[in-house]
């Protein structure tokens, strides 16, 4: 029994990584109705920027805020320069665009900062959290930051006019234009916000997985799995999905013989397929009532 609870706890702490990433995934999905395959790389690049700032002697939280602002702006620039021209293109063209962006960012990061792994600091320390060896203060801090972002997003979308306009633009662009919403800018704003959330995810994840250009590869797949499980339309679901995927991954790794570290990634992929087949809206995705 103790093994079981320990695995749950460990699952929650890795789940926090996935939850963080899933939040960014859901954010972009809300804005553009697609998954952004380059999201992990954008987050990785943001993390490198914050690392570079700290190397230059900028204190952690100043670098954190600066990175958020830079990532937000970069997200908007990427949308304006790359995806606005592709907005009316077929979906495969857009997917090709995402993949191009993925490899461009990955290579640039490698070119600028090379591929050796780097230590990344945590503002929360890494001592055991409340005496538990399974959750460190960093992981507890990461869970806290994720929940804080979730609350912020909930408030933004539920109670602000800008959030309402963004939701409208995402769900029904033509009607949104007919009430005077500049839908094109709402999409750019969605990219900016997703990039900023991704930056937070990257900066929280880097102390755990170490900083290097390929650090987000596996994390993004788990982030997708978490977002799909929780429901791509629900930020809350994405976070819950993140924790569930973390727990699930740990339990399967512990109790099913033969599933070691090598087979953990296929588990995430299998989970994506299973959810899409059985409950495409995910656990908390809003089933939308349509009149026909």
């Amino acid at each position: 029994m103790e093994l079981f609870t320990n695995q749950i706890l460990a699952g929650i702490s890795t789940g926090a990584i996935y939850a963080c990433m899933a939040l960014a995934v859901v954010m972009i999905y809300q804005a553009i109705d697609h998954l952004n395959f380059a999201q992990g790389e954008m987050a990785m690049f943001s993390t490198f920027i914050s690392w570079q700032l700290m190397q230059w002697g900028v204190p952690y939280w100043v670098a954190f805020i600066l990175t958020l602002a830079l990532s937000f702006a970069a997200g908007i620039v990427i949308e304006r320069a790359l995806f606005k021209p592709l907005a009316k293109a077929p979906i495969l063209t857009q997917v090709a665009g995402f993949i191009a962006l993925y490899s461009i960012i990955n290579s640039c990061a490698g070119l600028i900062w090379d591929f050796t792994i780097k230590q990344y600091p945590t503002p929360f320390g890494s001592s055991p959290f409340l005496g538990s060896q399974l959750i460190s203060t960093h992981q507890a801090g990461m869970i806290g930051i994720t929940l804080l972002m979730l609350a912020g997003l909930y408030f933004f979308f539920r109670y602000t006019r800008m959030g309402l306009a963004m939701r409208a633009a995402a769900s029904l662009p033509e009607s949104a234009r007919l009430v005077g919403i500049n839908t094109s800018w709402m999409i750019a704003l969605g990219w900016g916000m997703a990039a900023a959330i991704g930056a937070v995810a990257g900066m929280m994840i880097a102390p755990v997985v170490f900083l290097e250009p390929n650090m987000m590869l596996g994390v993004l797949i788990y982030g997708f799995a978490a977002a799909v499980l929780g429901g791509l339309t629900s930020p809350f679901g994405a976070v819950i999905g993140g924790f569930l995927v973390g727990i699930f991954e740990n339990l399967v790794g512990t109790y099913i013989p033969g599933v070691g570290n090598e087979l953990k990634l296929p588990i995430a992929l299998a989970l994506i397929v299973t959810v899409l087949v059985i409950k495409p809206a995910g656990l908390f995705g809003r089933p939308i009532v349509k009149r026909v």
Binding site: R167, A176, K290
Partner: protein, 237 residues
């Protein structure tokens, strides 16, 4: 009376297909005008061209300002509300959120709150359902919501695309009564596209008849209603 909307030689295209062939008409300020015509005559296209939702040439002027080259959202912000065919309801959002979206381009928060109350007075059924997901409303209720959403803009001109479509006759009467009231009391100029010619002509003071992308008849609604061709083609007697 001065012309609020002036349309000159409007031609519209869907890809290679030309849907409007040089349409000209104008709307007087405060008038309630109906645009009649059979399926495919170009009624919807005319409304979409006014809001720049379809590729078109020609001159459209609203209160003296040319609309060509403006984006849909900027045209709407000038005070032109468009209730599209199919109502354009934000089905996943609540009734109240739909109303707030109607006023999203306005900055006067206090007036928005009082306008929402005013809409609930116009359409009591919306008040009962204010927290309900809009997609769960009946067709008639959704049409009421679409009109209310458009009014939340405080428009100077309202374009309605077949508001009677798919509604029970009693509900249509009710809706048209409210449209007449809005036109008289709120001084909103209205252009309504309709297949239900009889009702539309009872309501309107001006009418245009459109056939294959051209205006073929224009005049006072009563005069048009008494025209023999119109009676045969659109009124069925």
């Amino acid at each position: 009376m001065t012309a609020m909307l002036n349309v000159r030689d409007l031609r519209a295209y869907y890809g290679q297909v030309q849907a409007l062939h040089g349409l000209s008409f104008s709307l007087d300020e405060g008038s309630l005008t109906t645009l009649l015509g059979a399926n495919g005559a170009g009624k919807t296209t005319t409304l979409r061209a006014i809001c720049n939702m379809v590729r078109s040439t020609g001159a459209i002027e609203f209160e003296g300002q040319p609309l060509s080259g403006r984006s849909t959202e900027n045209i709407v912000r000038l005070g032109i509300a468009h209730v599209p065919q199919g109502r354009g309801t934000f089905t996943a959002m609540t009734v109240e959120e739909n109303l707030q979206l109607g006023a999203i381009s306005r900055r006067d928060r206090a007036a928005i709150v009082s306008d929402i109350e005013r809409m609930y007075a116009h359409f009591p059924v919306l008040k009962e359902r204010y927290a309900q997901q809009a997609g769960t409303l009946s067709g008639g209720e959704q049409q009421m919501l679409a009109v209310a959403r458009a009014l939340m803009l405080r428009p100077r001109l309202m374009l309605l695309d077949e508001p009677s479509f798919g509604l029970a006759p009693l509900i249509v009467r009710d809706l048209f009564r409210i449209l007449g009231k809005i036109n008289r009391e709120d001084k909103v100029t209205i252009l309504v596209v309709e297949q239900n010619a009889q009702l539309a002509l009872e309501l309107a003071d001006q009418a245009y008849v459109i056939e294959t992308g051209r205006i073929v008849m224009a005049g006072g609604a009563k005069e048009i209603a008494n025209n023999e061709d119109v009676r045969k083609s659109y009124l069925g007697y």
